[in-house]
């Protein structure tokens, strides 16, 4: 059995057990908008010089995100798109203007095993349309998926939470581009949720490394998400800060 399928089945089983054991009142959903200020660094080989060219593209991606939690189990869906651009040196051709129109779709499921640890599985699809000096240069689609782990901590208050996550993409399929030989992602995130209103704001730093054999690239940058929450948890937490509940 392939490692990706085995990991998915194990996590699915764990998620099901956790969902069955979770209290029904701990349900919560959220929808929101996401903005991703991202830089894309690409290292390319230029024979016979070897690893001699680096592209640096940057831009802003915007999108929407949805989340649903049931007890220890939470599901996440996200879509962001945008255009990354920059000027790169291309040998005898001189400097060229390179643009990448990027569309990211993400689906994830994770189970909070302990208060400080969550395990999950993420599927990530990225569509890229490349143009060089306003000339279309092809499109590519990447489909990645793999297990993830996150360390969770409450920052002394119920409305502040920190998270450090790591995803290792064990399944990597590409269409229209070189094969991806290795892929990973790290996330460091701080989340604030209002005690009085069903609003949550998350600030995160995403880093993705993608290897194409001897070449490679990364995507990284700051990500801000604002979500509107619905369900039970926000009301419980909101009530927890009222004057009456300060003295139990």
């Amino acid at each position: 059995m392939r490692p990706a399928r085995l990991a998915a089945m194990t996590l699915g089983l764990a998620a099901g057990l956790a969902a069955l054991s979770a209290p029904a009142r701990a349900q919560e959903g959220g929808v929101g908008v996401t903005s991703y200020w991202v830089q894309n660094h690409v290292a390319r080989e230029v024979p016979p010089l070897g690893d001699a060219r680096r592209d640096l593209l940057d831009g802003t991606m915007l999108g929407v995100a949805g989340r649903f939690s049931y007890g220890r189990l939470s599901l996440v869906a996200e879509y962001v798109s945008g255009t990354l651009g920059g000027t790169t040196y291309a040998g005898t051709a001189g400097s060229v203007k390179t643009e990448r129109a990027v569309r990211d779709t993400e689906l994830g499921a994770r189970v909070r095993l302990f208060g400080w640890l969550a395990l999950g599985y993420e599927a990530h699809a990225r569509h890229l349309a490349l143009s060089v000096s306003d000339t279309a240069a092809g499109a590519a689609t990447w489909r990645l998926s793999g297990p993830s782990a996150a360390l969770l901590a409450t920052l002394g208050r119920p409305d502040l939470q920190a998270e450090v996550g790591y995803t290792h993409f064990v399944s990597r399929r590409t269409v229209g581009s070189a094969a991806i030989t290795g892929a990973l992602r790290t996330v460091a995130q701080v989340t604030w949720r209002s005690a009085r209103r069903p609003i949550q704001v998350a600030l995160a730093y995403h880093f993705e490394r993608l290897d194409h054999g001897r070449e490679g690239e990364d995507f990284q940058g700051g990500r801000v998400s604002v979500s509107y929450l619905f369900g039970g948890l926000h009301r419980q937490r909101g009530a927890g800060t009222s004057r009456d509940s300060r003295l139990e």
Partner: protein, 199 residues
């Protein structure tokens, strides 16, 4: 002789058999056999003669109308309201270092993980994103803020003892009240009127 609740088909609340030729007085204290007072209502008094073969012939039937005077009891008060109790816990600042440590770990992760995990030939260019330091700074600031303002519940032993004494006293008062009401109900007068049963 037997007394039945409402009709002869019911279970007798008193039953007594006397040998022939004996004169006796049978007392009914308006109680079920060795139990509490019967409720108000109509009861059937039946006197029957039983021969040696076991055949019974009804000789007399009367309806006994039992009415109990309502006892002078005291209504049980409602359970103690939460306002009667003192707060058993107070939210106090805890000064827990874990929030600050978590903020530091998150900040370090935002700063160093991309550095450690990026390709060696992209490491130089990867260091130029100001968002990394921004997120690390926010994580650290949030950790410090959480450390300074963190709150947690602290038990108040004196109030817990006082509340326990209040609950115990309330429980004792309720037991005494129930006993007094039971005694009042037992002592309440019972009126019994006998009517010949219509044929």
């Amino acid at each position: 002789m037997a007394i039945f609740a409402s009709d002869a088909g019911a279970r007798p609340v008193l039953s007594q058999t006397l040998p022939a030729g004996v004169s006796a007085t049978v007392w009914w204290t308006a109680r079920e056999i060795e139990r509490s007072l019967v409720p108000s209502g109509s009861y059937l008094l039946r006197v029957a003669v039983v021969d040696d073969a076991g055949g019974a012939t009804t000789a007399l039937e009367w309806v006994l109308l039992v009415s109990r005077t309502p006892a002078d009891t005291i209504a049980e008060p409602p359970p103690l309201d939460t306002s009667a109790f003192l707060p058993e816990r107070a939210i106090v600042r805890m000064g827990d270092p874990l929030p600050m440590l978590s903020g530091i770990v998150t900040g370090v992760a935002a700063t160093l993980l991309p550095e450690l995990l990026s390709r060696p030939n992209l490491r130089l260019s990867a260091g130029g994103n100001g968002w990394r330091l921004g997120v690390a700074g926010v994580a650290l600031a949030a950790g410090i803020f959480g450390f300074v303002t963190s709150e947690g519940p602290q038990p108040l032993a004196e109030n817990i003892t006082t509340n326990r004494a209040l609950r115990d006293q309330d429980a004792r008062d309720r037991v005494l009240l129930r006993d007094a009401n039971a005694r009042a109900r037992e002592a309440a007068p019972v009126r019994i009127r006998a009517e010949e049963r219509a044929p």
